[in-house]
Symmetry: C2
Subunit: 493 residues, 2 copies
């Protein structure tokens, strides 16, 4: 398939803006020229180790400059990359490696022991690559936007993970669509504490090279380090989810961000009102977003000026993209499944022809999320379709109840599921992490909801737990809450 | 041909950012929502007047909000637009109308008398359109990037004008490529005193709707109005050529621009050193560019920080584009014809198959301009290939001599051509407009050049004239300088 052809992005950046800072990690910096030199060396060492055009190469690696370099090196070899989630079990990894037809998996030192537990045998340790000689093969210095770039497994909050196929074009259009929304400033520096194996982190690698800005990379999320980095590295944009942002603001190290900090890009569900209010007080501009692996990250964004007027909304689509609601069969005409379309949207899941035929029609992808558009066209995401449950004939969206409880000052985190109930079919059960133990009673939380939600949405069950199970992108894993139900004294279902 | 499909750009803007200011003209403002409403009305009136999808519609109109609206209305009808140069003679206009297979030409009141002199008969006065009823046909609310958007005749500094075919995609990629270079700020307002019938003005219409910023439109160039508008309309970016910028700085009304003014985008040849120095002193950031109708405006740009280090250079390509030098046969290996490639570059001239076969190979367009790349990859444009002449076996580039003479403080404008000479074949002849009459002698200008240029480049002939002939985009029309030679007492050829 032949599409729009461009120069390799890193090569073009090293030519156009060689002296701009491409990457900051701890106390190290790389200009685009330096990064390109290191990446070319790595690509040639990969060549020595048998990595060839057209292969599918997976990696199981921490957030590290070498991971960024590997991504760019794979571009120079025109290899399809399969980023693996570090938190998966060996069995889950084996499933993905087989499903994505992976030729070789590259592992860093930290994941070498995990890799030894795999059935999959073609394991190439990063250390071995780095110690090898460079071969002298020609690097591939052009990019065809229609080429397959990556297979990224859906984060798997529901069902079996599927490999989302993303082309170079999907990443390109995601980056330019985001730029048309958030702008591009000369001094931009994008903080990345989200995982590089997830589209939220990988998309920062793409945006930074396409925009010619600096990526400020960290191994993972740590509130104090976030605050230090924003100040010391002159960060202007950061990608977070609510729980990260909340922890940053709660940190004793928190001090107001510099004026140059212009965008807190917040994914993974709408921000609760108290969090938005704290951000407003601290003059932190929050851009809430709705994104998917399938759309190469954000596809709908809410500007800070609309945060309060459109509380709970994810905003409007990026300029090149579209969103529509396809009514579900529950008779509620306004609410339905969210469908998205645009040049950043995947052309399908790898080797899932029947799923693709069902989920993608005329370029419109059925997201499996439930929501509605208001009269101005702002999108409200209610929940994952599969997380919705029926209570006494009414549709209940756990996310709506979570958003309500998140507004209570004693609640740090909350997850809601539908617990089996003989009378109602299902009833809401809320799992709550409190800020300070003993600070709030179950009844007062129920009363709080009763004052704000329809009767059928008020939790019948409240249970205090220590931690909400989350996946690598910090989304709540509601299916992992179900086992807690059985152990619960309060369980009345 | 089916390419990437998007929502109609204005429609999408009216949805995403309805309340942002789209257009300012004199004391009037339109938000995107208001502009879209006016454009839809105009599109339906065009429908009433028989304008149909697939037609070629020319327009002969001043810079005016109605012209901007017409451009957008033609998008809603999926009509190919043919903007006509107001300065052309009726015979020239007839040539283009026929060559571009135009169905109808729309004329505003100012150009109605010209249109009556045309052989071409399908003339539709704008006034007539505006007074008609709206039909109720469906507007076309999507855009296919591969569709033909416009046929723009090359400005014709040399040879017969050819109709450059530009797709929606060419304009889209030009706008996004420019954004990746110049950035996008929330408060951007782009001043347009260049003609809308030329790609320099038309591209501002495209950029403003794609970025969601404000276009500050003027009927034409006037230095005092330029200065007033920059201050009062809070302009941040302006498109100019050297002579415009020079007149602005010379104006008695000039006062330092606000800090928010961040980009003076200067096309039409490199800026002379004295002009750059004045801009530096006035803290005006000058981005010099090299652009063509064929590349939907700028394709190579020089950042202000490189202005002095790379004096005379046009800079480096936009991120999605490429530039290379194809050596000419003159033995000078570094110098050659400039070829450009990229998604903003035309796929060809309308109905000029043999020219296209000769000039476009593997996506690379031969520009007809002569230049070279320095060791860092900065482009230097020497001249139009056809304006180059040979003197005593040496290639002489008029633009190089013009750039030298422009540096003399007494010189306001200068044009150079090759005058026939029995001994040398051709010798340089310089036509000079002085700042104040009698301020400088011909000999002192020759001495000035002799101190700076190789002997064969020093003009043998200097002639003072009142005005340098220029085309609509303010480029020097060197062919129109030749007739002056015969009348010149100093003619020694």
């Amino acid at each position: 398939m032949a599409g729009q052809v461009m120069k390799n992005w890193l090569q073009q950046r090293a030519y156009l803006t060689p002296n701009r800072v491409a990457l900051i990690f701890e106390n190290q910096e790389w200009t685009y020229e330096e990064l390109d030199a290191d990446v070319r060396s790595l690509a040639r060492k990969l060549g020595t180790n048998g990595v060839r055009e057209g292969q599918h190469i997976a990696f199981l690696m921490d957030n590290h400059p070498k991971t960024v370099m590997l991504v760019h090196a794979l571009h120079y070899l025109n290899v399809v990359m399969v980023p693996l989630n570090k938190r998966l079990s060996p069995a889950e990894l084996d499933y993905q490696l087989q499903d994505a037809d992976v030729d070789v998996v590259i592992v860093d030192r930290r994941h070498q022991s995990v890799s030894e537990e795999l059935q999959f045998e073609n394991i190439l340790p990063l250390d071995e690559i780095l110690q090898s000689e460079e071969n002298n093969s020609e690097l591939i210095e052009s990019i065809d936007l229609d080429q397959l770039h990556s297979i990224i497994f859906t984060s798997g909050t529901t069902g079996h993970p599927k490999g989302v196929m993303l082309t170079y074009g999907n990443h390109w259009w995601s980056a330019t669509g985001s730029a048309l929304n958030l702008g591009i400033h000369d001094n931009d520096r994008w903080l990345c504490m989200v995982p590089l194996f997830h589209v939220s982190g990988l998309s920062i690698v793409m945006r930074s090279v396409i925009y010619g800005i600096t990526m400020v990379l960290h191994t993972g999320f740590e509130p104090k380090e976030f605050i230090r980095s924003v100040h010391e590295n002159r960060v202007t944009i950061a990608s977070v989810v609510s729980v990260m942002l909340s922890n940053v603001l709660d940190s004793e190290m928190f001090k107001p961000f510099p004026d140059a900090f212009r965008c807190m890009l917040l994914g993974g569900g709408p921000a609760p009102l108290p969090l938005l209010k704290r951000c407003e007080a601290e003059r932190i501009p929050v851009f809430q977003t709705y994104g998917l692996s399938e759309s190469a990250s954000q596809i709908v964004t809410l500007a800070p000026e609309d945060s309060f007027r459109k509380l709970g909304s994810a905003g409007k689509p990026l300029f090149p993209s579209q969103v529509k609601i396809v009514p579900t069969n529950d008779g509620d005409r306004e609410v339905g499944e969210i469908h998205v379309k645009g040049p950043n949207v995947t052309r399908g899941y790898y080797k899932k022809e029947s799923v693709n035929a069902e989920k993608i029609k005329d370029g419109w992808l059925a997201t499996g999320d439930i929501g509605y558009l208001d009269e101005e066209g702002f999108l409200y995401v209610l929940d994952r379709r599969k997380d919705m449950f029926v209570s006494g004939g009414e549709n209940v969206y756990p996310a709506e109840i979570e958003a309500c409880l998140s507004g209570h000052e004693a609640v740090a985190e909350v997850g809601v599921i539908g617990a089996p109930d003989e009378k109602w079919g299902r009833v809401p059960a809320a799992f709550v992490v409190v800020r300070k133990q003993g600070e709030v009673s179950k009844q007062s939380l129920i009363d709080y909801c009763a004052a704000r939600l329809a009767k059928y949405k008020v939790p019948n069950i409240i249970q205090f737990i220590d931690e909400i199970p989350r996946n690598a992108s910090n989304k709540i894993l509601r299916k992992d809450l179900h086992p807690f139900l059985k152990k619960d004294d309060d369980y009345e279902g």
